[in-house]
Structure formats: structure tokens, C-alpha cells
């Protein structure tokens, strides 16, 4: 299977009047098409920076990012940031609107996503009328409408309360698998990383290097959290993160 994303020796540093700050050091990995990988690490270790570099919002100081020809990235942020001055439907179409291709076809595609994920009745509502979990699903639809091939998820569930988080996490990872997307998620939540991904990379604190790679070999049904090996993975990753300090 082809590689959707290939990172080679990524270094990232930035300058302030107080000095030069090294954030990422020699990060290399590749992600196959359709794979779901997670990057776990302590907070402030440059996880979000890594996503920004993959998406092209930031330029790495050294190294290269290779995205498979013609593949597009979609980005999902920690909070939903649905605009209160737009209704749900026009929030979801924001990306298409910005790219200037708000055609009948895009609108139909957006509608079909709303229908598929049970939000069709809310397309004319204001964001404030929706619950946290629903809003996060709308944010995912907004990311999906421009039809990205690779999804970059920046702690997409951390703004939700615990119970909603479990539900939405399962739901959204299911949606991403259904749509056959490649996904890279950064998170500091170990159980979240294990329950959705095929592989988990653990980063050290800054300047961050990849400390280890875990291949999560548990079936998705019924639920990964019920499998005894879940704890083993959890403890192993947790120990690595703790050793950082």
C-alpha cells in the first residue's frame, strides 16, 4: 500500500528575543493510506506543531514532508469553533466557501454527510442549540466537506466532558474509517490513542524525538477498551511518558 504521508528528519525551532527554541528533533515516520495513527506526548511537546507542519501551515526548519500526489489534508482543531453568526449548514460549508467551490454538488455532499451522521434536522439551527458532542460531529463534517484524503486531528475530543468524549471518540473514529480516510491524531490521552489507532508514536518532552512506536493489534469489535491487552498497551505507553519527567 502506498504511503500517504512521509516525514523525513523534521526539525523545527523558532526564535524569540530570549533565544532559539528547539521544538522537534529529527522526526521521521510514514503513514500508509487508510491508516489511523496517533502521536502521544506530554503537553507542550510540540504535537500541534507537528500537525501544522504536515498540513503546511508551518514550515519545518529542516527536513521534508511528502504528501502523496494529489492528496489533500483536512485539519480538525481541539474545539469546534462553530461560528455563532452562521447556521450549522453554512458552518459546515465554510471550507468550500473559502475555496470558492460552493456548488450544488458540494451542498449535496454536505447534506448527505449530515443525513448519514444523524444531524439533518439541525442544519438550520444555530451552533448554540447543539450539544458538545453534536457540535464536534459538525466540526468533523466541516472538515470532510472539502473531501480531504488525510485528516489531521489536534486533540479533537479534549474539550468534551468525559462521557461525551468516549462516545464521540468512538463515533468519530468510526466515521473516519467509513469514509476510508488516512488519519493522524495528536493527543495526550493514552486511552484515546489506543482505542482508535493502528499505531501510536510516543514523543519525548521538547526538543521532542520519537521515543517509541507501538503497533496496536486489537480488534475493533466489540470494543478495544474491553480487551485485556488494552491495559498492557496503556501501561507501557504511560510508563514511557512518565519516564520523560
Amino acid at each position: 500500500m502506498k504511503n500517504a504521508v512521509e516525514l523525513k528528519n523534521i526539525n523545527f525551532s523558532f526564535n524569540t528575543p530570549c533565544g532559539e527554541h528547539f521544538v522537534l528533533k529529527d522526526i521521521s515516520f510514514s503513514v500508509k493510506e487508510g491508516e489511523f495513527i496517533s502521536v502521544a506526548g506530554p503537553s507542550g511537546c510540540g504535537k500541534s506543531t507537528l500537525l501544522s507542519i504536515i498540513s503546511g501551515l508551518l514550515k519545518s526548519s529542516e527536513g521534508s514532508v511528502k504528501i502523496y500526489d494529489g492528496f489533500k489534508c483536512g485539519y480538525m482543531l481541539q474545539k469546534d469553533y462553530l461560528f455563532e453568526w452562521r447556521n450549522i449548514f453554512s458552518n459546515a460549508c465554510l471550507g468550500a466557501e473559502i475555496n470558492g467551490n460552493i456548488t450544488e454538488e458540494t451542498k449535496q455532499y454536505a447534506l448527505s454527510l449530515f443525513e448519514k451522521y444523524g444531524l439533518k434536522d439541525y442544519i438550520n439551527s444555530r451552533p448554540s442549540a447543539l450539544s458538545g458532542g453534536m457540535r464536534q460531529r459538525v466540526a468533523l463534517i466541516r472538515t470532510l466537506v472539502p473531501k480531504p484524503d488525510i485528516l489531521l486531528l489536534d486533540e479533537p475530543f479534549s474539550a468534551l466532558d468525559y462521557q461525551t468524549r468516549l462516545e464521540v471518540c468512538d463515533e468519530i473514529s468510526q466515521i473516519i474509517k467509513n469514509e476510508g480516510k488516512t488519519a493522524i491524531m495528536v493527543t495526550h490521552d493514552i486511552s484515546e490513542a489506543i482505542s482508535v489507532s493502528d499505531r501510536v508514536f510516543v514523543l519525548s518532552k521538547i526538543p521532542a524525538i520519537i521515543k517509541s512506536e507501538h503497533i496496536i493489534d486489537i480488534s475493533h469489535s466489540p470494543s478495544r477498551r474491553d480487551d485485556p491487552r488494552f491495559r498492557e498497551y496503556f501501561n507501557a505507553i504511560w510508563k514511557e511518558l512518565k519516564d520523560n519527567e
Binding site: 498540513s55 501551515l57 483536512g74 485539519y75 482543531l77 481541539q78 474545539k79 469553533y81 461560528f83 455563532e84 453568526w85 465554510l94 471550507g95 466557501e97 473559502i98 475555496n99 444555530r126 466541516r142 472539502p146
Partner: protein, 266 residues
């Protein structure tokens, strides 16, 4: 629906009672003030030549409406003020957009804005009148000047405090700075702009009155100066009362507009 409980009824009754009490107290203050004033000036307790009296004010209101174009003076002041605060808000928003867009320029002009903001703008009124000329545009310019700097600063602060991640969202969706401006900065800050409009009403009244006092041949500011020069305190006080009514009316009108805009976009 169920019959409300006794406690609920008591509660509703108590808020109604409170509302009526407040209204009675409010109205009785102004009524007793007017009655006391009239009484004192009639009995000679206060000198009605320098304090005037409610009766004289009403009489001169009627007289001036018929003979000296009181409505015209009021309309002139209203138009100058409205022109002042609408221009102030537009120019303020426009300048804030330019400074938000260009942070280099922003850093350069920042100390100038701070200085311009702290000098009393009314001190500049005579200069403006010399430059612009002895006419209505000078008064509008003074009204504009009193409000525009504050608007720029308030709106710019609001722009710069817009959630950074909302801006990041636009970039993740492939947008550029123009998209950030039109999709996030402007719509997210409609409340701040409306707020500037409200502040500008008051400020632009100050500018207008100062301008009229200095140069005009019409307007309430002119009437105040003219009345005090010929010792017709009834004219002065009448103008002040009309000013109070006018500014309340404008403020209410802007609140209405704000509500309408809010219900449309939020």
C-alpha cells in the same frame, strides 16, 4: 399547563409590586422637582431671572417653536451629531481594519494614537474651525474628531483579541488573510462595533455642542450661548432639556438597531 403554585404567585406578585414602586418613585422625583422649582420661583425664594422657571421654559418652547425655528435648531444639532458618529464609526472601523492588517504600521502609529487619545479633543476645536472654515462641516469635523480615536482604539483591541484558533481554523480550511477578515474578524466583532457606535453618540454630542458654541449660527449649542449672552436662562435651559431628550432618543434608536442586527446574525 398546571395552575402556578402559591409560592410562584407570590413571587410574580412581588416583582410586579417592585416594578410599580420603582416607576412611582422615578416619576415623583421629576414631578416634585418641577413643582418645587415653579413654587420657589413664584414665591421669590429663588431668583427667576437667573434660575428661570418651568412655566417660562414651556412658554418659551411654544413661542420659539412658532417664531424662532426651534425645531430647525434641534434638527441641525441632530444632523450634525448623527453625521459625526456615523462618520466616526465608519472611519474608526476602517482605520482599525488597516491597522489590524498591517501590524508594522500598527506598531509605528501606536504611540501617536495614545497621545491623540489623551489630549482633550475639544482643545483642537478652534484649530479645526480655522482650518475647515466657519461652517457646518467644521462642526461635523469636531464631532468626528472627538469620537474617532476612541473608536479606532476600542475596535482595534477587539480585533486583536479575537480567538487565535478561530483564525487558525480559516487557515486550516485553506483561507488567506482576506478570508480571516471577512469570515471571522468582522462578523465576530459586530458587538464591539455596535458598542463603539453607542459610545460615539455621546462623544459626538460633546463635539457638536462645542463646535456650535464656537461658530454656529444655528443649533442648540448656539442657542445656549446666545441665551446666556442675553440673560434669557429659559432659552438655555430649554436647549439643555431638548438635548437630554435628543440624546436619549438617539441612544434608544441605536439600541433598537443593535437588537435588530443581533437577531439577524446571532
Amino acid at each position: 399547563m398546571n395552575e402556578p403554585s402559591t409560592r410562584q404567585k407570590q413571587y410574580l406578585h412581588s416583582i410586579k409590586k417592585r416594578r410599580i414602586c420603582i416607576m412611582l418613585c422615578r416619576n415623583s422625583i421629576i414631578l416634585s422637582f418641577i413643582v418645587l422649582w415653579q413654587f420657589c420661583s413664584q414665591k421669590g425664594i429663588v431668583d427667576s431671572f437667573i434660575f428661570s422657571s418651568p412655566k417660562e421654559i414651556v412658554l418659551s418652547a411654544v413661542d420659539m417653536t412658532l417664531n424662532s425655528r426651534l425645531l430647525f435648531h434641534t434638527a441641525v444639532t441632530a444632523c450634525e451629531t448623527i453625521a459625526g458618529f456615523i462618520l466616526g464609526t465608519f472611519i474608526g472601523t476602517g482605520t482599525a481594519i488597516i491597522l489590524w492588517w498591517n501590524s508594522f504600521l500598527n506598531d509605528i502609529v501606536d504611540p501617536y494614537l495614545v497621545v491623540l487619545n489623551s489630549i482633550p479633543k475639544t482643545a483642537l476645536a478652534p484649530i479645526i474651525i480655522v482650518w475647515v472654515g466657519n461652517n457646518i462641516s467644521a462642526i461635523i469635523a469636531v464631532a468626528l474628531l472627538t469620537s474617532v480615536i476612541v473608536s479606532i482604539m476600542n475596535i482595534l483591541t477587539a480585533f486583536n483579541e479575537t480567538d487565535k484558533d478561530m483564525i487558525k481554523l480559516i487557515y486550516t480550511l485553506g483561507g488567506n488573510k482576506k478570508d480571516v477578515l471577512f469570515k471571522v474578524i468582522l462578523p465576530a466583532n459586530v458587538p464591539a462595533i455596535m458598542n463603539a457606535l453607542k459610545v460615539n453618540t455621546g462623544l459626538s454630542f460633546i463635539g457638536t455642542i462645542i463646535g456650535e458654541m464656537l461658530v454656529a449660527k444655528y443649533g442648540l449649542g448656539y442657542l445656549i450661548i446666545y441665551g446666556s449672552q442675553i440673560f434669557r436662562l429659559d432659552i438655555v435651559l430649554l436647549s439643555v432639556v431638548i438635548l437630554a431628550l435628543l440624546s436619549t432618543f438617539l441612544y434608544k434608536a441605536i439600541m433598537k438597531l443593535e437588537k435588530k442586527i443581533n437577531s439577524k446574525i446571532i
